[in-house]
């Protein structure tokens, strides 16, 4: 059923009895698909949607271990931006930004993409010059970026300590006005609904236990609900990439799984209107439509699959928040949780064919997976459908570590927790 104010009003009159399932409930997969996407997160669902929509491949199954949208797409800080330095990155994320801008209407599902701006604070002249390099790289690639001085920052974000007495005085900032945030769960549900309506089967509670090969060619997957055959299999399982791909014979990958925590405060009337990132520590802060302040911080810093973090990062995030906004200390943290990040060794993602015929890999999203959802799905669908990467993901190769074509956005080197 098409969603609109009118359909909502009609249903309101009928006691909402007409709404149907958002995606079909399928207990059992079919025995054969053209493409199986392993992982019913944002990326997997988007991949299935674009396989159907852009490439006409509709005999597709999304196979999910638990319930869809239960991984990082449902536990992130919802920031969307394309403010990257390296052109290979910023062009990819900018394509994503364009997809975000049309997403609600494309999916006919309001993902509440809110372009309230993403502001990166600089705390020294040298840091500001670093941002100028990034901002100029964005601009020549057709991405919006603005340089703000301290007073402009102060006007934009009331409550922030911009005084000279601050431990890290604000020197200025780099603003991407088109950046912002979105309703994370809605992205998963919207893609699921879109894919489902194009004929894609979404099978929940169906853990993949192994991959089926004939020689070096993949022919399907083995699941708790039995074997399912397919011509091509794409794996998009984020923090579980090493775990799942080990079953396909990948003993090692250029990935470590780390826990990243996120935080939300009690709901408040509008207070911070922009997404603000601190430049002297790892903190980003925004306010959700429901009124909660949403904070993200640094990785806990050790390999983890536990979806739970520890107090030092909780306390450090609170310290940064209160240092930057001294009016926040009386407000209360409502909840904090952890997600498992697939940290790649250079901080950039992998969307590529694998050395095994018919098996495709989408992984290594680090902190950046949520904003990448549409572009990742779009490019992965292309890579699977055409059996070759699109120009936009041509740099996100699995073999780049061997060839030296790494994409080290931060210049931090081969230490995943530093990206």
């Amino acid at each position: 059923m098409h969603f609109s104010a009118l359909s909502l009003a009609r249903q309101a009159l009928k006691g909402h009895r007409g709404w149907t399932r958002t995606w079909r409930a399928l207990e059992q997969p079919k025995s054969h698909y053209d493409v199986i996407v392993v992982g019913g997160g944002g990326h997997g669902l988007a991949t299935a949607y674009y396989l159907a929509k852009e490439h006409g491949i509709t005999n597709v199954a999304v196979i999910e271990k638990g319930w869809i949208g239960g991984g990082n797409v449902g536990r992130n800080t919802t920031i969307v931006r394309s403010n990257y330095l390296l052109p290979q990155n910023n062009r990819f994320y900018e394509w994503g930004m364009k997809l975000w801008e049309g997403m609600s209407r494309d999916l006919n599902y309001n993902v509440m993409f809110s372009q309230r701006g993403v502001l990166n604070l600089a705390h020294s002249p040298a840091q500001l010059e670093g941002y100028m390099r990034r901002g100029n790289s964005m601009r020549i690639n057709g991405i919006d970026a603005e340089l703000l001085d301290r007073d402009q920052v102060a006007r934009m974000v009331p409550g922030m300590d911009v005084s000279d007495k601050a431990r890290f005085p604000v020197a200025g900032g780099l603003l991407q006005p088109r950046g912002g945030s979105a309703r994370h769960d809605a992205v998963a549900w919207g893609y699921a609904r879109g894919a489902d309506s194009l004929g894609v089967d979404i099978i929940e509670n169906c853990e993949v236990q192994g991959f089926l090969f004939e020689g070096d060619r993949i022919v399907g997957v083995d699941t708790v609900k039995g074997p399912v055959r397919a011509g091509k299999v794409g794996v998009a399982v984020a923090g579980n990439s090493s775990r799942v791909l080990a079953k396909a014979g990948f003993e090692r990958l250029p990935i470590e799984s780390h826990v990243l925590q996120a935080f939300v405060s009690e709901p408040l009337k509008p207070l911070i209107d922009t997404v603000v990132t601190f430049g002297a520590g790892h903190l980003y802060i925004s306010q959700s439509d429901k009124g909660g302040l949403v904070f993200g911080g640094d990785l806990d810093g050790y390999n983890s699959y536990a979806q739970r973090g520890n107090l030092p990062i909780v306390q450090d995030v609170a310290s940064m928040a209160v240092t930057l906004f001294p009016n926040l200390s009386r407000l209360r943290l409502l909840r904090h949780w952890g997600g498992v990040m697939d940290m790649s060794m250079d901080g950039s993602p992998i969307i590529d064919k694998s050395p095994k015929e018919g098996l495709y890999i989408n992984a290594g999203w680090c902190y950046g997976g949520f904003k990448a959802t549409p572009a990742s799905g779009w490019c992965f669908a292309h890579t699977i459908a055409r059996d070759e990467p699109h120009d936009l993901n041509a740099a996100f190769r699995l073999d780049r570590f061997r060839t030296g074509r790494t994409l080290d956005e931060k210049g931090a080197g081969p230490v995943p927790r530093l990206h």
Partner: protein, 98 residues
């Protein structure tokens, strides 16, 4: 998390930094084999479960430790000294009371 540093006793997570997979083998410097260096520098098993890994007691004795820890529960099974002092413990470190 608490790590039982063989030299300093039980100390809080805040005193340590994580230094990565301790099962990696390092080629000798005269090896120019890009494949094996790529494996060392970039490729990780990244297991869900027991993991041998380096930690440095950076705000303590600065020793590198080899810790066996479960990545799914964060429970710590073993802490040893890495490097030239492997196998050593400080004489005074009895079963410290937390």
């Amino acid at each position: 998390m608490y790590l039982n540093c063989p030299f300093c006793g039980h100390r809080h997570l805040e005193e340590f930094t994580y230094e990565g997979d301790a099962t990696i083998s390092w080629p000798t410097l005269d090896s120019q084999d890009i494949g094996s260096w790529t494996d060392t520098v970039y490729q990780r098993r990244n297991p869900a479960g027991p993991h041998r890994e380096y930690w440095q007691h950076v705000h303590g004795c600065r020793q590198f430790l080899i810790v066996e820890r479960d990545t799914t529960t964060h429970s710590i099974h073993k802490v040893e000294v890495a490097g030239p002092w492997a196998g050593e413990t400080a004489p005074r470190n009895t079963e410290a009371k937390q």
